[in-house]
Symmetry: C2
Subunit: 474 residues, 2 copies
């Protein structure tokens, strides 16, 4: 049943690659408001393509945005699309984005970042894997059903935005506003905006959350000379180093009392998932360029990155940070660190405990300086239930296309979109990547391989099929 | 006997101020090699003035200097001068410099920095107090003896340089070279290149030394994302914060084992010196803008700044130091701190102990990162014997001119020149300032008051006189 669909995809692969080339050529860099017109253009092209395939499209207005300059500019719309709504079918909502990170050849690209270039089976260009390639693969999956005269066996909806790389302005508000309309009949939300962990196809069922902390210690009214004043005053840097030093020990353990109490216990069934992941510690050592990790086994390292919290100290603002030497006592310094949350940690609870801890350490120093702790961001962690029907369908689809057992993985970094959709809509959310671990999102020489792009299109076709087979279970 | 001398100074004060104006107008900024010609010009004027008064002058060639650009340029000469050598008299060698720090009106000056401007009894201009005013005061003191037909009662030598503000290039080598010639008959070296601690005239008998440390922790081969890698790797920042946190406690105590063992014990006679110092803790609190000091009493605060060692953490290079937030794990970070040495600490000994301590703390963390500790600078502390005849003469001269008991003070900062002269020549060295505590050396609106400039000239006349009276004791 899938065979004619896969055949169509194989036969049309050059056409699909060519369309990716058309999209890559549009410099839809959302980081530069001067390029937002290109985003509008690409969103309109996307809408036109959907309409050609018989879908209905609404270009949702999400208002304006204030630039750092103070200027207020209209945001690009968000494409909301739907293909025939049959109440007998499950409804799948696909999320993607058509904007990209900045890229300039001078940054170290081997090819022009906005000219799709195929070298040894890899398709190089900005946005090829993040996220133009996967968005096109979804559109081509629908095209494949249409072109082979097969009915798309689920109702398909699409949300395509153009502001993802700068924080998805307007999307959260739109999600809330459309909860009782656009989202009301949605059963499953699928996101293909990350990459596999290794060379094995993967499903992603969790991401860590994060809170970012600014710890400011404000002291003398001006910078002082360390020869003239050293030894007589409470230096803000000494206070700050002591505060930062109280956060974490040399094993990576977070020392803030109570912060890790809520971490969900590791069950046997979850532990087994890690054993099945095809992942080389040696390769990761090479990638990161480290001698060894805080943990000894593959499973422990993966769990440390995905299902346990972490604390990283990023730097200090206000102290002497230039090359050379300077004998300054900085008057005000701000330490910056962040904590990655995992279920069932509650960011607001963590933030309160961190503040209390830092205030207590500071009080014990009897310093006349002023401490201010500010917590920002505060994204919640996300984890999905692997027994959910779409995860079952996703695993089957991977077996259909690649003939291997999929890896069930999580992301250590924070991708608020999955958590936001799950929390706001209450729907099942899955991340179904088709990019490879070495695609280089956000980096120089971003690529997607022709194999991943084309087999990924087959994966989406198969996933739609498997999802329709599971309707009774949803 | 001093009366006619003082009269001459009072009668000629406008002339002395005018000459200071001539000198201030010469932009002898040693920080800018393009201005070194102005330094040559001023050194030649100085030499000419000395010759007019009957002194002999040698313009000592001190070779070349390599600029950061790689260009090698000739250094301005150093003026070596001498007035009649009578083997029956003591020989005083006066050190000073005619170069200045940079200054631009746009930096926040209220007047043109290179136009001497008198406002409410203060003479504003770059170099007025550091060090053109005091150098001229010495020349005017000699002039005063000559003009009033009194024999200068000591042999006077002068060393006037033009590179002090950039590190006295060539002076140390010249001192070594001239040890058996120019310095052989010198009894006392006097330096007037600092300021009083309060409004009370002072003698300065000590400065702290310093060593500057760079602590580099080198980790992953590139910066990493804290979401992707946080919790699994030994972060260089965690190592560094722990290293820096092991250096000093919240009371200001240096925690590096053995580093303070060599600090000279406080004797009763020294303790009493601090009681006599007219110094307001409240005023210093206002100047520094702090609520309170690490110590409670005036004496303790002064001792902490002058006669005890201190450790200040200046900053971190390589970490995130900009405003805003960034979730980076920096690959390589370098902490910077310095220790101020006091007698009888030995910088090389301190540097060895600091390295050993940091290596031990680092080893206990079992981190795969690489630690490098580099110690730079390493100037020795300096302290003079207050029973030395020139300190006795200096105190008498202050009583003669100002009618008050002088304050016997030290500097917390490092002034290598005094230590270098004492160590290289083995001669008695004294710092005899005439500038006030609020003169603003190196700062905007640098000034010397007309009072300090003119009474300071009298002080030098009186000092020469008192020194001659003590000849038998030297």
């Amino acid at each position: 049943m899938l065979k004619p669909l896969f055949q169509y995809i194989d036969q049309n692969q050059n056409h699909f690659v060519q369309r990716l080339g058309d999209w890559v050529a549009i410099q839809s860099d959302s980081g530069d408001p001067a390029m937002w017109g290109q985003i509008d253009r690409l969103l309109n092209m996307t809408a036109e393509r959907i309409r050609e395939m018989g879908g209905s499209v609404e270009m949702a207005d999400v208002g304006t945005h204030q630039l750092p300059s103070g200027q207020t500019v209209p945001l690009p719309p968000i494409v909301l699309a739907a293909f025939v709504r049959d109440p007998e079918k499950a409804t799948l909502c696909i999320y993607g984005h058509v904007d990209v990170q900045p890229a300039r050849r001078e940054d170290g690209w081997n090819t022009d970042p906005f000219t799709l270039t195929e070298i040894s089976g890899n398709l190089y260009g900005r946005g090829t894997t993040d996220n133009k390639g996967p968005v096109l693969a979804w559109l081509h999956a629908i095209e494949t059903y249409k072109a082979t005269k097969q009915e798309v066996p689920v109702n398909v909806k699409l949300i395509i935005e153009g502001m993802e790389e700068v924080g998805s302005h307007g999307l959260l508000e739109l999600t809330r506003r459309m909860n009782d309309s656009f989202f009301s009949d949605v059963d499953f939300i699928v996101i293909s905006d990350n990459v596999w962990t290794s060379n094995t196809p993967a499903l992603t069922y969790g991401t860590r959350g994060s809170s970012y902390f600014l710890v400011e210690v404000d002291g003398p009214k001006q910078d002082l000379h360390s020869g003239v004043f050293g030894g007589s005053i409470h230096e803000p840097m000494s206070d700050l180093i002591s505060l930062l030093g109280s956060l974490i020990d040399h094993t990576g353990k977070i020392l803030v009392p109570g912060v890790t109490d809520a971490v969900a216990p590791l069950m046997d069934v979850e532990r087994k998932l890690y054993e099945n992941i095809n992942f080389s510690l040696e390769e990761l050592k090479n990638t990161a360029g480290v001698q060894h990790f805080l943990q000894n086994t593959k499973e422990e390292v993966l769990m440390a990155r995905w299902r346990y919290p972490s604390l990283s100290i990023h730097g200090i603002q206000g102290a002497f940070s230039e090359p050379g030497i300077k004998t300054v006592i900085p008057r005000r310094v701000t330490g910056k660190f962040s904590i990655r949350h995992v279920p069932d940690m509650v960011p607001s609870d963590v933030e309160r405990k961190v503040k209390e801890h830092l205030e207590q350490v500071f009080a014990s120093r009897k310093s006349p300086n002023i401490l201010r702790v500010i917590a920002t961001v505060g994204a919640k962690p996300w984890v999905a239930d692997l027994k959910d029907p779409q995860y079952v369908a996703g695993q089957k689809a991977i077996r259909d296309v690649f003939g291997v057992e999929p890896e069930l993985v999580r992301e250590g970094s924070t991708i608020p979109i999955a958590q936001n959709f799950q929390e706001e809509t209450g729907k099942s959310v899955m991340m179904l990547p088709i990019g490879a671990h070495d695609d280089g999102e956000h980096s120089q020489n971003e690529k997607i391989s022709r194999f991943n792009y084309i087999e990924g299109t087959k994966l989406f076709v198969a996933y739609i099929h498997e999802l329709s087979q599971l309707k009774g279970q949803s």
